[in-house]
Symmetry: C2
Amino acid sequence: MARPRTPLLSRERIVAAALRLIDDEGLDALSTRRLATELSVSGPSLYNHFATKDELLDAVVDSVMGEVDLSMFGTSGSSGTTGVPGVPGEPGRAAWPEALRDWARSYRAALAAHPNIVPVLAQGPGRRPNALRLADAVFGHLVDSGWPRGQATRIGALMRYFVTGSALASFAAGFPADAEVYDAADYPHLGEAHRLAGHRGAVDEGAFETGLEALLDGLALRYARLAERS
Amino acid sequence: MARPRTPLLSRERIVAAALRLIDDEGLDALSTRRLATELSVSGPSLYNHFATKDELLDAVVDSVMGEVDLSMFGTSGSSGTTGVPGVPGEPGRAAWPEALRDWARSYRAALAAHPNIVPVLAQGPGRRPNALRLADAVFGHLVDSGWPRGQATRIGALMRYFVTGSALASFAAGFPADAEVYDAADYPHLGEAHRLAGHRGAVDEGAFETGLEALLDGLALRYARLAERS
DNA sequence: ACCTGAACACCGTTCAAGT
DNA sequence: ACCTGAACACCGTTCAAGT
């Protein structure tokens, strides 16, 4: 066949097929040969579009990060402080908790739709533009809201911990549905644990929302203390 | 050579070598052939001790989980309610926040010592005894402290989200140390991000502690509300 | 019971060859 | 520029053979 008149592949088509494969069969199922077969080409063809498998994975990860809504941090992506600056001296009116809540929900939704790729994504932004844009928007918004830069960094980090942790795997589904696993002599409090997997969605959603609200409440307490000390 | 008088391998020796390999070179570096070479045997020898590579990985994971301290939840592992039951009606005296704090620190320390295996471990307890013991101890302690069972489940889940997320990868190290990555036109607030990797330990530790305290404060608020409504 | 080498169906990646 | 088949050094796992 050799070179066709119109290219058989594009980076977009490859990324979409790779994400589908990862979603359906896991990260280990993504092999260059398998992916090529899925795209009806031979294995080495992919190397005309990506230098390595890692570079392809990077593109898949960034496509997922691109789904996260950042609009609550201000309309423009690069104009800096567009919103009203924060007033830490007057607690109760700060807008950052709502922005953080909306963002965390969108962040989790984007990741939980593709849990098998979360371990890769959780390694950090690297040089991926959508991941860097996200970090920039969160940090910028917190600083503009009156958080000291060191605290803003920590909040960005701990929010990522919580969101990636909650999207990495279902808590409920991690417990076998087989009641015989939970011998009362070994695990006296897990007698009902075999029912967890059946309520997977509700348990994980409830845990995420509880944790998110607890985190925001705890941070609001610290935000209020910022003003007292100044 | 065939069968030696004294076995060359044992499950313990294999697990220890596998964990070392994963720590030093990552999860992908663990191949049965490479591991066998490390142990000075041929590849198929491992199959006399583990049925599959997955079964070996499970044993590695449970050995890490075994390092987590659970003593703050009561001395005995199987006798149920040994401690003083909780009194949700009288906030401020509850012991569960301290137990949860100590446990979370030990949990994170155990996992952060082996970050490369956290993605496997985060899939849930499965049938691994040390992981089930941990879930049992946390849930039992929260219920004994007066938390309703549904809430106790959510707290167990959200704590796992936060701890696994914080141990999965360093936040600070995820930002390239190369200042040229952070073009001010694209990322107006990341001008100092290239310094993060240099303060890796302090940033991640600070973020974990801030998040942990915020979570516990937020949960204490909810615990106080439990009594008001009853 | 516990080790070996040979074999099977896979990998990621390189490269010369085709248009 | 973009695809192909052949080739290289790897994988996990099975199995017959050895003691």
